[in-house]
Structures are given as structure tokens and as C-alpha cells.
């Protein structure tokens, strides 16, 4: 299984929606940088992602949530927060990595 990383805000760009259309079911998806807003339960994009959380294993980068002041906001169900070390582990555990830029 592949790990997909997405670094763009789902409000601004189509990177996450393309990833959700083309990543194989069962893949891991890690939201980093401006994409972390997509993991929040209280916004429109997070709600869209929540509908797909049975299809993928979802992760979000903690340091990027903290930097943006949203680490205390509720996350959508089933999302795991990882740090940079956890990012490395995810990359190692999956067979390959694709970045959605």
C-alpha cells in the first residue's frame, strides 16, 4: 500500500480531492503543511473528508496543526496525529510515497 501526502489547503486547491479520487482504497493519506485544515471537524472541507475516512487511513502532521493554532480544534473521526518522526515511520511502513502538490 502507498502513502499519499497532501500539502495544499483543500479550500484553495484541488490536490486533496484529486488524491481522494485516485488513491487506492486502503492507502494511507497524510495531511501536512496547509493541508492540515482538511482534518478539522468543524469546517466544510473536513466534513467532506470525514465521509471518506472508511476508505483510507488518515494522518495529520501535529507540528503543522500547532503552527496554525488549530491543534486544539476537534479532528474528524479516525485521524491519527503524527510528528515528523511518525512521518518517517509512515514512509518506511508503506511501499512507496506519492506527493500531491
Amino acid at each position: 500500500m502507498m502513502l499519499h501526502t497532501v500539502n495544499k489547503s483543500p479550500f484553495e486547491r484541488n490536490a486533496l480531492s484529486s488524491c481522494l479520487r485516485l488513491a487506492k482504497k486502503g492507502s494511507g493519506i497524510l495531511l501536512i503543511e496547509d493541508a492540515v485544515y482538511g482534518a478539522l471537524a468543524d469546517n466544510a472541507e473536513g466534513k467532506k473528508l470525514a465521509e471518506r475516512n472508511g476508505d483510507f487511513k488518515l494522518y495529520v502532521l501535529g507540528p503543522d496543526l500547532e503552527a496554525r493554532g488549530v491543534a486544539d480544534k476537534p479532528l474528524i473521526d479516525g485521524v491519527t496525529v503524527v510528528d515528523y518522526g511518525g512521518f518517517v515511520d509512515l514512509a518506511a511502513e508503506h511501499d512507496a510515497v506519492q506527493s500531491w502538490l
Partner: protein, 128 residues
């Protein structure tokens, strides 16, 4: 602000439009640097935060673990530079589940329609 008669007719309405999230790109920080300088020119300066730009003024940033500059408190300092006209679009806030309590500075929340009128009345628009 001083009452400079000599500037009469030369005061322009400068609008800084912020539409990008912080940290993923540098635009929030570098636009802020421009606004601080602009304040010294005694122009009529406004800033609007729309789309992901509203995240620029989300409070509680902790940039320790990304090791990037935390310039959040600069938004609070704007007031001391006589930059007092900060506007946020209501629709952008709502889509992102944000309320005024989430923000680090006092802003005026305007609807898209109200903002549209305000933006249309500007002389110089600097966006990023």
C-alpha cells in the same frame, strides 16, 4: 493620525488583500512587512482577510516544532501603527468554522456583499 493639510488630495486608499494560509507560503509574513512600512506614509490603509487568509489571524500559533518564525503578535501591533481597518469576510469564516473568538485581533466581520463595496472603493490594491 496627524492632521496634515499638506497631504490633502494625496491620501490614497491602500488595500492589502490576504487570501493565503500562513506558513505554507511566506505571503502572510511579507505582506505584513509591507503594511508596517506603508503605515509611515499616512495613507488610508485597510487589510482584508478572505478565503484561507482568515487563518492568518487565527490565535494560538505555536511554531516551535516547525521551527518557523511566529509573527502572530505583529497583527496585534498594527493598531500601534495606526493600521486599524481590518476586515474579515463572514462567508470565509463560516466555511472554516471560525468565530471572532478564534482571532488574535479585533476585526470587523463583513458579508461578501459589504466587502465587495469596500474593496471596489480602493485606489491601490496589493494582493498575494
Amino acid at each position: 493620525m496627524e492632521d496634515d493639510d499638506e497631504f490633502e488630495g494625496e491620501v490614497k486608499r491602500f488595500l492589502y488583500v490576504n487570501r493565503k494560509a500562513p506558513h505554507g507560503t511566506i505571503y502572510a509574513l511579507e505582506t505584513l512587512e509591507t503594511v508596517l512600512i506603508a503605515a509611515a506614509f499616512d495613507q488610508d490603509v485597510s487589510m482584508v482577510f478572505i478565503d484561507d487568509g482568515v487563518y492568518q489571524i487565527k490565535k494560538d500559533w505555536d511554531t516551535t516544532n516547525v521551527n518557523m518564525k511566529n509573527f502572530s503578535k505583529t497583527y496585534r501591533a498594527l493598531d500601534g501603527y495606526d493600521v486599524e481597518k481590518l476586515y474579515v469576510e463572514k462567508e470565509s469564516m463560516e466555511a472554516r468554522g471560525l468565530t471572532e473568538d478564534d482571532l488574535i485581533v479585533d476585526v470587523e466581520v463583513l458579508s461578501a456583499a459589504e466587502l465587495s463595496d469596500l474593496m471596489d472603493a480602493q485606489d491601490v490594491v496589493i494582493s498575494s
